[in-house]
Protein backbone atom coordinates (compact mmCIF):
# COMPACT_ATOMS: atom_id res chain seq x y z
CA UNK A 1 0.00 0.00 0.00
CA UNK A 2 1.15 3.48 -0.86
CA UNK A 3 1.76 5.44 2.36
CA UNK A 4 1.90 9.22 2.61
CA UNK A 5 3.11 10.98 5.74
CA UNK A 6 1.22 14.22 6.33
CA UNK A 7 2.00 14.66 10.02
CA UNK A 8 5.21 16.68 10.02
CA UNK A 9 3.81 18.82 12.84
CA UNK A 10 4.14 15.76 15.07
CA UNK A 11 7.66 14.90 13.97
CA UNK A 12 9.86 14.83 10.89
CA UNK A 13 12.13 12.15 9.46
CA UNK A 14 15.83 12.81 10.05
CA UNK A 15 17.77 14.35 7.21
CA UNK A 16 20.36 11.80 5.95
CA UNK A 17 23.16 14.34 6.49
CA UNK A 18 22.06 14.71 10.12
CA UNK A 19 22.30 10.97 10.67
CA UNK A 20 25.73 10.95 9.02
CA UNK A 21 26.94 13.75 11.30
CA UNK A 22 25.71 11.92 14.38
CA UNK A 23 27.09 8.45 13.69
CA UNK A 24 30.69 8.98 14.92
CA UNK A 25 29.31 10.06 18.29
CA UNK A 26 27.72 6.66 18.83
CA UNK A 27 31.14 5.10 18.14
CA UNK A 28 34.68 6.43 18.12
CA UNK A 29 33.90 9.78 19.72
CA UNK A 30 32.46 8.64 22.99
CA UNK A 31 34.28 10.82 25.52
CA UNK A 32 32.60 12.83 28.23
CA UNK A 33 32.88 16.54 27.36
CA UNK A 34 33.70 17.27 31.02
CA UNK A 35 36.79 14.99 31.05
CA UNK A 36 40.11 16.73 30.64
CA UNK A 37 41.88 13.97 28.68
CA UNK A 38 42.04 13.84 24.90
CA UNK A 39 38.83 11.77 24.62
CA UNK A 40 37.00 14.36 26.64
CA UNK A 41 38.54 17.27 24.77
CA UNK A 42 37.47 15.76 21.48
CA UNK A 43 33.89 15.52 22.74
CA UNK A 44 34.06 19.02 24.20
CA UNK A 45 35.18 20.39 20.85
CA UNK A 46 32.18 18.80 19.10
CA UNK A 47 29.86 20.14 21.79
CA UNK A 48 31.11 23.71 21.47
CA UNK A 49 31.14 23.56 17.67
CA UNK A 50 27.52 22.46 17.82
CA UNK A 51 26.72 25.36 20.11
CA UNK A 52 28.39 27.78 17.68
CA UNK A 53 26.50 26.40 14.69
CA UNK A 54 23.18 26.58 16.55
CA UNK A 55 23.85 30.14 17.69
CA UNK A 56 24.89 31.19 14.19
CA UNK A 57 21.67 29.80 12.69
CA UNK A 58 19.62 31.92 15.10
CA UNK A 59 21.67 35.12 15.16
CA UNK A 60 22.62 34.43 18.78
CA UNK A 61 25.91 34.14 20.66
CA UNK A 62 27.14 30.63 21.57
CA UNK A 63 26.94 31.49 25.27
CA UNK A 64 23.23 32.10 24.88
CA UNK A 65 22.40 28.49 23.92
CA UNK A 66 21.52 25.85 26.53
CA UNK A 67 20.95 22.34 25.20
CA UNK A 68 18.01 20.45 26.69
CA UNK A 69 16.18 17.17 26.22
CA UNK A 70 13.68 18.79 23.84
CA UNK A 71 11.03 21.45 23.44
CA UNK A 72 9.14 20.49 26.58
CA UNK A 73 12.19 20.90 28.79
CA UNK A 74 13.18 24.16 27.11
CA UNK A 75 9.70 25.56 27.77
CA UNK A 76 9.75 24.38 31.38
CA UNK A 77 13.22 25.76 31.99
CA UNK A 78 12.32 29.15 30.53
CA UNK A 79 9.05 29.57 32.41
CA UNK A 80 9.88 27.95 35.73
CA UNK A 81 13.36 29.44 35.57
CA UNK A 82 12.12 33.02 35.19
CA UNK A 83 9.35 32.52 37.74
CA UNK A 84 11.90 31.34 40.26
CA UNK A 85 14.50 33.99 39.50
CA UNK A 86 12.05 36.92 39.56
CA UNK A 87 9.47 35.81 42.12
CA UNK A 88 10.78 38.50 44.47
CA UNK A 89 10.01 41.14 41.86
CA UNK A 90 6.49 40.08 40.98
CA UNK A 91 4.19 37.09 40.67
CA UNK A 92 2.14 37.90 37.58
CA UNK A 93 2.60 35.88 34.38
CA UNK A 94 1.00 36.20 30.95
CA UNK A 95 0.56 33.61 28.23
CA UNK A 96 -1.91 32.83 25.45
CA UNK A 97 -4.86 30.46 25.45
CA UNK A 98 -3.51 28.41 22.55
CA UNK A 99 -0.05 27.44 23.78
CA UNK A 100 1.24 23.89 23.63
CA UNK A 101 0.65 21.96 26.85
CA UNK A 102 4.38 22.16 27.62
CA UNK A 103 3.80 25.89 28.20
CA UNK A 104 0.17 25.97 29.31
CA UNK A 105 0.49 23.26 31.94
CA UNK A 106 3.71 24.78 33.29
CA UNK A 107 1.82 28.02 33.89
CA UNK A 108 -1.03 26.04 35.39
CA UNK A 109 1.39 24.43 37.84
CA UNK A 110 2.79 27.85 38.76
CA UNK A 111 -0.69 29.23 39.37
CA UNK A 112 -1.02 26.58 42.08
CA UNK A 113 2.20 27.83 43.64
CA UNK A 114 1.07 31.40 44.24
CA UNK A 115 1.60 32.92 40.80
CA UNK A 116 -1.21 34.67 39.00
CA UNK A 117 -1.59 33.80 35.31
CA UNK A 118 -3.42 35.85 32.69
CA UNK A 119 -4.43 33.99 29.51
CA UNK A 120 -4.56 36.19 26.43
CA UNK A 121 -7.51 35.34 24.19
CA UNK A 122 -7.20 34.80 20.43
CA UNK A 123 -9.45 35.81 17.55
CA UNK A 124 -11.18 33.25 15.32
CA UNK A 125 -7.95 32.78 13.36
CA UNK A 126 -6.01 32.02 16.54
CA UNK A 127 -4.22 35.36 16.59
CA UNK A 128 -3.27 37.28 19.75
CA UNK A 129 -4.09 41.00 19.70
CA UNK A 130 -1.11 43.11 20.88
CA UNK A 131 -3.58 45.54 22.48
CA UNK A 132 -4.72 42.74 24.76
CA UNK A 133 -1.13 42.28 25.86
CA UNK A 134 -0.78 45.99 26.58
CA UNK A 135 -3.89 45.90 28.79
CA UNK A 136 -2.83 42.74 30.56
CA UNK A 137 0.65 43.97 31.54
CA UNK A 138 0.98 45.08 35.17
CA UNK A 139 3.74 46.43 37.35
CA UNK A 140 4.20 43.00 38.88
CA UNK A 141 4.29 41.12 35.54
CA UNK A 142 7.57 39.23 35.28
CA UNK A 143 7.12 37.07 32.16
CA UNK A 144 5.12 36.93 28.95
CA UNK A 145 5.17 33.77 26.84
CA UNK A 146 3.52 33.57 23.41
CA UNK A 147 4.33 30.91 20.84
CA UNK A 148 5.74 31.89 17.47
CA UNK A 149 3.66 29.41 15.46
CA UNK A 150 0.83 27.24 16.66
CA UNK A 151 1.27 23.49 16.29
CA UNK A 152 -2.38 22.71 15.53
CA UNK A 153 -3.66 25.49 13.31
CA UNK A 154 -0.32 26.94 12.18
CA UNK A 155 -1.19 30.55 12.99
CA UNK A 156 1.85 32.83 13.19
CA UNK A 157 1.76 35.32 16.05
CA UNK A 158 2.95 38.95 15.79
CA UNK A 159 6.01 38.09 17.89
CA UNK A 160 7.98 41.11 16.74
CA UNK A 161 5.33 43.49 18.08
CA UNK A 162 4.54 41.49 21.22
CA UNK A 163 8.19 41.19 22.19
CA UNK A 164 8.81 44.87 21.55
CA UNK A 165 5.97 45.82 23.88
CA UNK A 166 7.54 43.69 26.61
CA UNK A 167 11.03 45.00 25.96
CA UNK A 168 9.79 48.58 26.39
CA UNK A 169 8.14 47.64 29.68
CA UNK A 170 11.21 45.74 30.86
CA UNK A 171 9.28 42.45 31.06
CA UNK A 172 10.89 39.19 29.93
CA UNK A 173 9.45 37.67 26.77
CA UNK A 174 9.64 33.95 25.98
CA UNK A 175 8.52 32.36 22.74
CA UNK A 176 8.00 28.67 21.98
CA UNK A 177 9.45 28.50 18.46
CA UNK A 178 9.32 24.71 18.26
CA UNK A 179 7.08 24.75 15.17
CA UNK A 180 8.64 27.84 13.63
CA UNK A 181 12.32 26.91 13.27
CA UNK A 182 13.11 26.03 9.68
CA UNK A 183 9.73 27.28 8.49
CA UNK A 184 10.01 31.02 9.10
CA UNK A 185 13.18 33.09 9.42
CA UNK A 186 14.24 33.86 13.00
CA UNK A 187 16.98 36.40 13.66
CA UNK A 188 17.61 36.98 17.33
CA UNK A 189 19.88 39.92 16.60
CA UNK A 190 16.78 41.85 15.64
CA UNK A 191 13.94 40.12 17.44
CA UNK A 192 13.78 41.38 21.04
CA UNK A 193 12.85 38.09 22.70
CA UNK A 194 14.70 37.09 25.87
CA UNK A 195 14.06 33.35 25.72
CA UNK A 196 13.24 31.02 22.83
CA UNK A 197 12.58 27.26 22.80
CA UNK A 198 13.28 24.87 19.95
CA UNK A 199 13.24 21.12 19.38
CA UNK A 200 15.39 19.24 16.84
CA UNK A 201 12.87 16.59 15.79
CA UNK A 202 10.57 19.20 14.27
CA UNK A 203 13.21 20.28 11.75
CA UNK A 204 14.57 16.94 10.51
CA UNK A 205 16.84 16.41 13.50
CA UNK A 206 16.80 13.71 16.18
CA UNK A 207 14.19 13.29 18.92
CA UNK A 208 14.94 14.00 22.56
CA UNK A 209 17.13 17.05 22.07
CA UNK A 210 16.30 20.74 22.00
CA UNK A 211 17.66 24.07 23.10
CA UNK A 212 16.73 27.17 24.99
CA UNK A 213 18.09 30.51 23.85
CA UNK A 214 18.66 32.73 26.89
CA UNK A 215 19.68 36.26 25.99
CA UNK A 216 22.82 37.39 27.81
CA UNK A 217 21.99 38.95 31.18
CA UNK A 218 18.61 37.25 31.52
CA UNK A 219 18.06 35.99 35.06
CA UNK A 220 17.08 32.34 35.11
CA UNK A 221 16.66 29.73 37.82
CA UNK A 222 17.01 26.03 37.08
CA UNK A 223 15.04 22.81 37.05
CA UNK A 224 17.80 20.34 37.86
CA UNK A 225 20.69 20.20 40.30
CA UNK A 226 23.90 18.33 39.63
CA UNK A 227 27.17 18.86 37.81
CA UNK A 228 28.49 21.98 36.13
CA UNK A 229 27.35 21.29 32.57
CA UNK A 230 25.70 24.02 30.46
CA UNK A 231 27.05 26.66 32.83
CA UNK A 232 25.28 24.84 35.70
CA UNK A 233 22.00 25.89 34.13
CA UNK A 234 21.24 22.38 32.94
CA UNK A 235 23.43 19.81 34.67
CA UNK A 236 23.86 16.26 33.41
CA UNK A 237 26.27 14.69 30.93
CA UNK A 238 25.36 16.06 27.52
CA UNK A 239 23.52 14.05 24.86
CA UNK A 240 26.35 14.60 22.43
CA UNK A 241 25.05 12.61 19.43
CA UNK A 242 21.74 14.44 19.78
CA UNK A 243 23.35 17.83 20.14
CA UNK A 244 25.56 17.26 17.09
CA UNK A 245 22.42 16.21 15.21
CA UNK A 246 20.50 19.29 16.34
CA UNK A 247 23.32 21.55 15.16
CA UNK A 248 23.53 19.88 11.75
CA UNK A 249 19.75 19.96 11.39
CA UNK A 250 19.41 23.64 12.21
CA UNK A 251 22.31 24.49 9.92
CA UNK A 252 20.44 22.79 7.07
CA UNK A 253 17.05 24.13 8.16
CA UNK A 254 17.94 27.79 7.86
CA UNK A 255 19.32 27.56 4.31
CA UNK A 256 17.00 29.46 1.96
CA UNK A 257 13.94 29.50 4.22
CA UNK A 258 12.03 31.91 1.94
CA UNK A 259 12.52 29.64 -1.08
CA UNK A 260 11.58 26.46 0.75
CA UNK A 261 8.64 28.10 2.50
CA UNK A 262 7.24 29.48 -0.76
CA UNK A 263 7.34 26.05 -2.38
CA UNK A 264 5.67 24.45 0.60
CA UNK A 265 3.04 27.16 0.92
CA UNK A 266 2.10 26.58 -2.73
CA UNK A 267 1.56 22.91 -1.95
CA UNK A 268 -0.37 23.83 1.21
CA UNK A 269 -2.67 26.14 -0.72
CA UNK A 270 -3.23 23.49 -3.37
CA UNK A 271 -4.30 21.10 -0.61
CA UNK A 272 -6.53 23.65 1.13
CA UNK A 273 -8.09 24.69 -2.18
CA UNK A 274 -8.87 21.11 -3.19
CA UNK A 275 -10.43 20.22 0.15
CA UNK A 276 -12.61 23.34 0.22
CA UNK A 277 -13.68 22.93 -3.41
CA UNK A 278 -14.19 19.21 -3.62
CA UNK A 279 -15.86 18.41 -0.29
CA UNK A 280 -19.01 20.17 0.88
CA UNK A 281 -19.25 21.73 4.34
CA UNK A 282 -15.53 22.13 5.01
CA UNK A 283 -13.98 25.10 6.79
CA UNK A 284 -10.37 26.18 7.17
CA UNK A 285 -9.18 26.58 10.76
CA UNK A 286 -6.40 29.04 11.58
CA UNK A 287 -5.31 32.12 9.68
CA UNK A 288 -5.74 32.13 5.89
CA UNK A 289 -2.37 33.85 5.27
CA UNK A 290 -0.41 34.19 8.52
CA UNK A 291 0.18 30.48 8.85
CA UNK A 292 2.99 27.93 8.76
CA UNK A 293 3.85 27.03 5.16
CA UNK A 294 3.13 23.34 5.76
CA UNK A 295 0.04 23.53 7.96
CA UNK A 296 -3.47 22.62 6.83
CA UNK A 297 -6.22 22.37 9.43
CA UNK A 298 -9.81 21.93 8.32
CA UNK A 299 -13.05 20.98 9.99
CA UNK A 300 -15.04 18.52 7.93
CA UNK A 301 -18.56 18.86 9.23
CA UNK A 302 -20.69 15.87 10.21
CA UNK A 303 -17.62 13.60 10.34
CA UNK A 304 -15.79 12.79 13.54
CA UNK A 305 -12.03 13.35 13.42
CA UNK A 306 -10.80 10.19 15.09
CA UNK A 307 -12.89 7.97 12.85
CA UNK A 308 -11.61 9.87 9.84
CA UNK A 309 -7.98 9.48 10.97
CA UNK A 310 -8.49 5.78 11.44
CA UNK A 311 -10.02 5.38 8.00
CA UNK A 312 -7.24 7.44 6.42
CA UNK A 313 -4.60 5.44 8.26
CA UNK A 314 -6.09 2.18 6.97
CA UNK A 315 -5.65 3.68 3.48
CA UNK A 316 -2.08 4.81 4.09
CA UNK A 317 -2.56 8.50 4.87
CA UNK A 318 -1.01 9.66 8.18
CA UNK A 319 -2.68 12.76 9.66
CA UNK A 320 -3.87 14.07 13.02
CA UNK A 321 -6.94 15.69 14.58
CA UNK A 322 -8.08 17.89 17.44
CA UNK A 323 -11.14 15.75 18.03
CA UNK A 324 -12.13 14.89 21.59
CA UNK A 325 -12.03 11.22 20.66
CA UNK A 326 -8.30 11.42 19.95
CA UNK A 327 -7.36 13.31 23.07
CA UNK A 328 -7.78 10.70 25.78
CA UNK A 329 -9.18 13.46 27.98
CA UNK A 330 -12.39 13.50 25.91
CA UNK A 331 -12.02 17.25 25.55
CA UNK A 332 -11.70 18.70 22.08
CA UNK A 333 -8.57 20.71 21.33
CA UNK A 334 -8.19 23.78 23.55
CA UNK A 335 -6.78 25.61 20.53
CA UNK A 336 -9.88 25.09 18.40
CA UNK A 337 -12.14 25.95 21.34
CA UNK A 338 -10.17 29.16 21.98
CA UNK A 339 -10.77 30.11 18.32
CA UNK A 340 -14.50 29.91 19.09
CA UNK A 341 -15.32 26.70 17.27
CA UNK A 342 -18.35 24.81 18.56
CA UNK A 343 -17.83 21.27 19.84
CA UNK A 344 -19.11 19.64 16.70
CA UNK A 345 -16.88 21.60 14.37
CA UNK A 346 -13.88 20.95 16.59
CA UNK A 347 -14.88 17.27 16.57
CA UNK A 348 -14.42 17.11 12.81
CA UNK A 349 -10.99 18.70 12.66
CA UNK A 350 -8.29 17.23 10.48
CA UNK A 351 -4.67 18.43 10.55
CA UNK A 352 -2.41 17.70 7.60
CA UNK A 353 1.15 18.97 7.93
CA UNK A 354 3.42 18.89 4.92
CA UNK A 355 7.13 18.22 4.80
CA UNK A 356 9.93 18.78 2.32
CA UNK A 357 9.50 15.34 0.81
CA UNK A 358 5.83 15.78 -0.07
CA UNK A 359 4.92 16.39 -3.70
CA UNK A 360 1.92 17.72 -5.60
CA UNK A 361 1.10 14.09 -6.49
CA UNK A 362 1.02 13.23 -2.77
CA UNK A 363 -1.37 16.09 -2.16
CA UNK A 364 -3.70 15.16 -5.00
CA UNK A 365 -3.65 11.50 -4.01
CA UNK A 366 -4.41 12.40 -0.38
CA UNK A 367 -7.35 14.55 -1.46
CA UNK A 368 -8.84 11.62 -3.40
CA UNK A 369 -8.48 9.32 -0.38
CA UNK A 370 -9.92 11.92 2.00
CA UNK A 371 -12.89 12.46 -0.31
CA UNK A 372 -13.62 8.73 -0.27
CA UNK A 373 -13.30 8.43 3.49
CA UNK A 374 -15.50 11.44 4.14
CA UNK A 375 -18.19 10.11 1.80
CA UNK A 376 -18.12 6.70 3.49
CA UNK A 377 -18.33 8.10 7.02
CA UNK A 378 -21.00 10.64 6.14
CA UNK A 379 -23.11 7.87 4.67
CA UNK A 380 -23.53 6.49 8.21
CA UNK A 381 -23.38 9.81 10.06
CA UNK A 382 -26.56 10.77 11.83
CA UNK A 383 -25.59 14.42 11.74
CA UNK A 384 -24.96 14.35 8.00
CA UNK A 385 -28.32 12.69 7.33
CA UNK A 386 -30.04 15.34 9.43
CA UNK A 387 -28.19 18.06 7.57
CA UNK A 388 -29.17 16.60 4.18
CA UNK A 389 -32.79 16.23 5.19
CA UNK A 390 -32.88 19.83 6.30
CA UNK A 391 -31.13 20.98 3.17
CA UNK A 392 -33.19 18.93 0.72
CA UNK A 393 -36.58 19.99 2.08
CA UNK A 394 -36.16 23.01 4.30
CA UNK A 395 -39.91 23.17 5.00
CA UNK A 396 -40.50 19.72 6.42
CA UNK A 397 -37.01 19.08 7.71
CA UNK A 398 -36.62 17.98 11.28
CA UNK A 399 -34.79 20.06 13.81
CA UNK A 400 -31.08 19.43 13.88
CA UNK A 401 -30.19 16.80 16.44
CA UNK A 402 -28.81 18.29 19.56
CA UNK A 403 -26.35 16.54 21.81
CA UNK A 404 -28.56 14.48 24.05
CA UNK A 405 -26.91 13.76 27.33
CA UNK A 406 -26.44 10.26 28.46
CA UNK A 407 -27.54 9.75 32.06
Amino acid sequence: MKRIYLDHGATTPMHPQVLEAMLPFFGQVFGNPSSIHSFGREARRALEESREKTALALGAAPGEIIFTSGGTEADNLAIQGVAEALSGKGRHLITSAIEHHAVLDTFKALSKKGFEVTLLPVDRYGMVDPDDLVSALRDDTILVSVMMANNEIGTLQPIEELSRICREKGVYFHTDAVQAIGNIPVNLKELPVDLLSLSAHKFYGPKGVGALFVRRGTKLGKLFFGGGQEKKQRPGTENLPGIVGLAKAIELAVVDIPGKAAAMAALRDRLIGSLLEQIEEVQLNGHPVQRLPGNVNVSIKYVEGEGLLLDLDLKGIAASSGSACTSGSLEPSHVLMACGLDHQTAHGSLRLTLGHNNTAEDVDYAVEIIKGSVARLREMSLLYKNYRRKNDNPQTGEEETSCITKK
Binding site: Y302, V303, E304, G305, E306, G307, L310, D311, L314, S323, A324, C325, T326, G328, L330, P332, H343, Q344, H347, L377, E379, M380, S381, L382, L383, Y384, K385, T401, S402, C403, I404, T405, K406
Partner: protein
Protein backbone atom coordinates in the same frame (compact mmCIF):
# COMPACT_ATOMS: atom_id res chain seq x y z
CA UNK B 1 -4.77 0.80 19.37
CA UNK B 2 -7.84 -1.12 18.15
CA UNK B 3 -7.91 -4.89 17.68
CA UNK B 4 -8.66 -6.56 14.34
CA UNK B 5 -12.30 -7.21 15.14
CA UNK B 6 -12.95 -3.56 15.92
CA UNK B 7 -11.17 -2.55 12.73
CA UNK B 8 -13.24 -5.06 10.75
CA UNK B 9 -16.52 -3.66 12.08
CA UNK B 10 -15.28 -0.13 11.46
CA UNK B 11 -14.23 -0.90 7.89
CA UNK B 12 -17.18 -3.12 7.04
CA UNK B 13 -19.99 -1.93 9.26
CA UNK B 14 -23.00 -4.27 9.42
CA UNK B 15 -26.46 -2.76 9.10
CA UNK B 16 -25.33 0.83 8.64
CA UNK B 17 -27.87 3.28 7.30
CA UNK B 18 -31.27 4.72 7.82
CA UNK B 19 -34.38 2.57 8.07
CA UNK B 20 -37.62 3.73 6.57
CA UNK B 21 -40.74 3.04 8.55
CA UNK B 22 -39.07 1.57 11.66
CA UNK B 23 -41.07 0.19 14.59
CA UNK B 24 -38.93 2.09 17.04
CA UNK B 25 -35.96 4.45 17.16
CA UNK B 26 -33.54 5.34 19.96
CA UNK B 27 -30.93 8.05 20.01
CA UNK B 28 -28.17 8.74 22.53
CA UNK B 29 -25.37 11.21 22.61
CA UNK B 30 -22.33 11.54 24.75
CA UNK B 31 -22.16 15.14 25.82
CA UNK B 32 -18.58 14.75 26.90
CA UNK B 33 -16.93 13.70 23.65
CA UNK B 34 -19.82 14.52 21.31
CA UNK B 35 -20.40 11.09 19.80
CA UNK B 36 -24.02 10.48 18.86
CA UNK B 37 -25.88 7.43 17.58
CA UNK B 38 -29.33 6.37 16.49
CA UNK B 39 -30.70 2.82 16.33
CA UNK B 40 -33.67 1.83 14.15
CA UNK B 41 -35.55 -1.42 14.80
CA UNK B 42 -38.26 -3.33 12.97
CA UNK B 43 -40.20 -5.55 15.33
CA UNK B 44 -42.36 -8.53 14.38
CA UNK B 45 -43.86 -11.00 16.85
CA UNK B 46 -41.88 -9.41 19.67
CA UNK B 47 -38.64 -10.10 17.82
CA UNK B 48 -36.12 -7.72 16.26
CA UNK B 49 -36.55 -8.65 12.62
CA UNK B 50 -34.35 -5.87 11.32
CA UNK B 51 -32.05 -3.28 12.80
CA UNK B 52 -29.82 -0.48 11.53
CA UNK B 53 -27.79 2.42 12.83
CA UNK B 54 -26.52 5.89 12.06
CA UNK B 55 -23.51 7.04 14.07
CA UNK B 56 -21.46 10.19 14.26
CA UNK B 57 -18.41 9.22 16.21
CA UNK B 58 -14.99 7.69 16.45
CA UNK B 59 -13.88 4.29 15.23
CA UNK B 60 -14.97 2.65 18.48
CA UNK B 61 -18.41 4.25 18.28
CA UNK B 62 -18.97 2.98 14.75
CA UNK B 63 -17.62 -0.49 15.54
CA UNK B 64 -19.82 -0.85 18.63
CA UNK B 65 -22.91 0.25 16.71
CA UNK B 66 -22.18 -2.35 14.06
CA UNK B 67 -21.44 -5.09 16.61
CA UNK B 68 -24.64 -4.38 18.50
CA UNK B 69 -26.81 -4.72 15.43
CA UNK B 70 -25.22 -8.06 14.65
CA UNK B 71 -25.72 -9.25 18.24
CA UNK B 72 -29.42 -8.53 18.58
CA UNK B 73 -30.81 -9.25 15.13
CA UNK B 74 -33.43 -11.99 15.57
CA UNK B 75 -33.50 -11.72 19.36
CA UNK B 76 -36.69 -11.20 21.34
CA UNK B 77 -37.19 -7.78 22.86
CA UNK B 78 -36.69 -9.15 26.36
CA UNK B 79 -33.41 -10.76 25.31
CA UNK B 80 -32.30 -7.55 23.62
CA UNK B 81 -33.10 -5.49 26.70
CA UNK B 82 -30.57 -7.58 28.62
CA UNK B 83 -27.66 -6.70 26.30
CA UNK B 84 -25.31 -4.22 27.95
CA UNK B 85 -22.68 -1.85 26.60
CA UNK B 86 -20.12 -4.12 28.25
CA UNK B 87 -21.43 -7.13 26.27
CA UNK B 88 -20.90 -5.18 23.06
CA UNK B 89 -17.35 -4.24 24.04
CA UNK B 90 -16.62 -7.86 25.03
CA UNK B 91 -17.90 -9.21 21.73
CA UNK B 92 -15.55 -6.78 20.02
CA UNK B 93 -12.71 -8.36 21.96
CA UNK B 94 -12.33 -5.28 24.13
CA UNK B 95 -11.95 -1.57 23.51
CA UNK B 96 -9.13 0.72 24.62
CA UNK B 97 -9.61 2.04 28.16
CA UNK B 98 -10.14 5.63 27.06
CA UNK B 99 -12.80 4.56 24.58
CA UNK B 100 -14.96 2.53 26.94
CA UNK B 101 -17.13 5.33 28.21
CA UNK B 102 -16.56 7.60 25.22
CA UNK B 103 -18.12 5.58 22.47
CA UNK B 104 -19.82 2.59 23.94
CA UNK B 105 -23.42 3.77 23.83
CA UNK B 106 -24.98 1.37 21.38
CA UNK B 107 -26.88 -0.74 23.92
CA UNK B 108 -28.36 2.44 25.44
CA UNK B 109 -29.61 3.50 22.03
CA UNK B 110 -31.11 0.05 21.44
CA UNK B 111 -32.93 0.07 24.79
CA UNK B 112 -34.37 3.45 23.92
CA UNK B 113 -35.55 2.12 20.57
CA UNK B 114 -37.29 -0.80 22.29
CA UNK B 115 -38.90 1.56 24.80
CA UNK B 116 -40.00 3.74 21.91
CA UNK B 117 -41.60 0.74 20.20
CA UNK B 118 -43.28 -0.44 23.38
CA UNK B 119 -44.69 2.97 24.15
CA UNK B 120 -46.18 3.10 20.65
CA UNK B 121 -47.86 -0.32 20.70
CA UNK B 122 -49.37 0.14 24.12
Amino acid sequence: MYNEKVIDHFQNPRNAGEMFDPSGVGEVGNMKCGDIMKIFIKVENDRIEDISFLTFGCGAAIASSSMLTELVKGKTLDEAMKITNMDVANHLGGLPEAKLHCSNLAADALHKAIEDYRSKVQ
